[in-house]
């Protein structure tokens, strides 16, 4: 598993496109951090950059077949990719913080701003983003086990769009508050926010929202493993 995680990081390290996209996103992310506001879409985009085609690209290139011809379990490969992705996200967030610090120092030295970044909130915000990013990564991994190319990202967006819009549609357009609360509950269980903001402000870790988050994460990883174990790996021409 560690070997597969290492390979994931090496793949990302070796891709110029990934570097450029992540540097741009880190620059973008430094702005909300300076302002003490959540990173929001920046982290979601970083997860897309790091993890789109997390399994499907290996399958399409034939690399997956070479790896799975080795004495490793498919679950090991899959979890290795996941933990490699988690490590990459942590590195990205840490780099965004460092970049924010460097830009802050540079701006102060140049005399452009007298305000310093509020480091306490910046650290907290960065920490809050980790569980969200990890959940998004697990969802992408799940989709990538059976969809081709960037189908995982497209499915993720569709999934997010449908489940975010449904409660509003049921409540506002169709006047069905029962269905609205049902879809809301589904969304909370399928992509739970957790209570990370509360937890990072000193709230209890062991609470219902945390349980939902853990359950959903474990569910995606388990489903991904089950699907991946059943998947046939076909390629090439007879």
């Amino acid at each position: 598993m560690i070997e597969t995680a290492r390979r994931f990081l090496a793949q990302k390290r070796g891709s110029l496109g990934t570097w450029l996209a992540l540097v741009a996103l880190a620059l973008l992310g430094s702005m909300p951090l300076r302002a003490g506001t959540p990173l929001g879409f920046v982290v979601t985009l970083a997860v897309f950059v790091l993890a789109s085609g997390i399994v499907s690209r290996d399958a399409a290139s034939g690399a997956l077949q070479m790896i799975l011809a080795r004495p490793i379990l498919r679950a090991e490969y899959l979890l290795g990719r996941f933990f490699g992705g988690v490590a990459a996200i942590l590195l990205f967030l840490a780099s965004t913080l460092v970049l924010t610090f460097l830009l802050d120092r540079a701006a102060a030295l140049a005399g452009w701003t007298a305000d310093s970044v509020p480091w306490g909130p910046a650290l907290r915000i960065t920490g809050e983003e980790v569980p969200h990013a990890v959940m998004n990564l697990a969802i992408l991994l799940f989709f990538s086990t059976f969809l081709r190319g960037i189908g995982d990202v497209l499915a993720f967006l569709l999934f997010g769009l449908v489940f975010s819009a449904l409660p509003g549609i049921f409540a506002g357009l169709l006047h069905r508050p029962d269905l609205a609360s049902l879809t809301n509950a589904m969304l909370q269980n399928l992509a739970p926010d957790g209570a990370w903001r509360d937890i990072f402000h000193g709230g209890k870790v062991l609470q219902l929202a945390t349980g939902q988050w853990v359950l959903a994460l474990a569910g995606y990883l388990l489903l991904a493993t089950l699907l991946f174990n059943r998947r046939e790996l076909s390629y090439g021409q007879d």
């Binding site: 290139s61 011809a69 490793i72 046939e232």
Partner: protein
């Protein structure tokens, strides 16, 4: 021993299905080198994928030393080289080989040494190992693919078109590695369209057509496939040489260039023909014999 018994595989999709393998049965003895040949779409890669446990047969069974192909114990003894070479483009050659060395269960502390030795074995300059695989030529990718497949001297080797698209030197490197594995007793399944190479290294060929095993033919020893031989002698004495061979019961034809053809003969007949000509003072400048695998494609059964 690899036992393939009544294996069928259908690729099904809504609106149509394609039967890639139909009731294929085959046994591959320990230490045997089997060539899978057949036209495009015959089912060779599907069979190889089933042997590797990547595809599950719809019917029948595959056992390798009594175990399923995806058994980790079997995989620890298996080397595999895929046909497609688009793998790990972002990794350097060294990273790629190191990764596969460790995945194959190789000693971590010996990684650098094993990688350098593997590169040397396939004639890959170690200076190239630091470069990304995306900058490698097809020939270099073939070599690095063979290097990873032969890590740890696997007992079973599955090779899918290992030398397609490579230069003659690359073909020779692949052939040498196969012969090396063969010499140490590895069981090898080689899927290839390069019939001359198949003939050089394989003990037996299995000819697939339309998903069926149309024919299996030994290339060595008793029951070997009939050969087509070509001897080159003095152009002025071609007709006399043919007559000398006919006298000894070896029908042959000659052209004006001194090329004598013998069709459908056994290995020992080729040696006998050379001896007959030499004893009668005909110069033999060249002697070639091949199993005429092309013939399989023309009349498979």
């Amino acid at each position: 021993m690899i036992v393939v018994q009544n294996v069928s595989k259908t690729y099904g999709r809504r609106g149509g299905s394609h039967r890639a393998l139909a009731d294929v049965s085959l046994e591959i003895a320990r230490g045997e080198t089997l060539g899978l040949i057949g036209p495009n779409g015959a089912g060779k890669t599907t069979l190889l994928s089933c042997l590797l446990g990547f595809l599950r047969p719809d019917g029948g069974s595959i056992l390798i030393d009594g175990k399923a192909p995806d058994d980790l114990g079997i995989r620890a003894r298996t080397g595999y080289m895929p046909e497609r070479l688009g793998f790990d483009r972002e990794l350097s050659g060294r990273e790629f080989l190191s990764h596969h060395w460790r995945l194959s269960g190789g000693d971590r502390s010996a990684t650098a040494h094993a990688v350098a030795a593997a590169a040397e074995r396939v004639g890959l300059d170690t200076a190239f190992l630091g470069r990304k695989l995306r900058t490698y030529s097809r020939g270099m990718l073939q070599r690095i693919g063979v290097a990873q497949a032969t890590f740890g001297e696997p007992e079973i080797l599955f090779l899918d078109e290992p030398a397609s698209g490579t230069d003659p030197l690359g073909v020779a490197v692949v052939r040498d590695r196969i012969l090396e594995a063969k010499a140490r007793g590895a069981t090898i399944v080689l899927n290839s369209h390069q019939l001359a190479e198949v003939e050089r290294v394989c003990d037996r060929v299995a000819f697939l057509e339309g998903g069926r095993l149309a024919r299996a033919q030994s290339l060595r020893g008793d029951g070997a496939a009939p050969r087509r031989a070509l001897l080159r002698t003095d152009p002025a004495r071609g007709a006399q040489a043919v007559a000398a061979l006919a006298e000894q019961g070896l029908p042959a034809t000659a052209d004006g260039e001194g090329l004598i053809r013998l069709e459908a003969v056994r290995e020992e007949d080729v040696a006998r023909a050379v001896r007959i000509l030499a004893l009668r003072d005909f110069p033999v400048f060249e002697a070639r014999a091949s199993a005429d695998l092309e013939h399989f494609f023309k009349s498979p059964s």
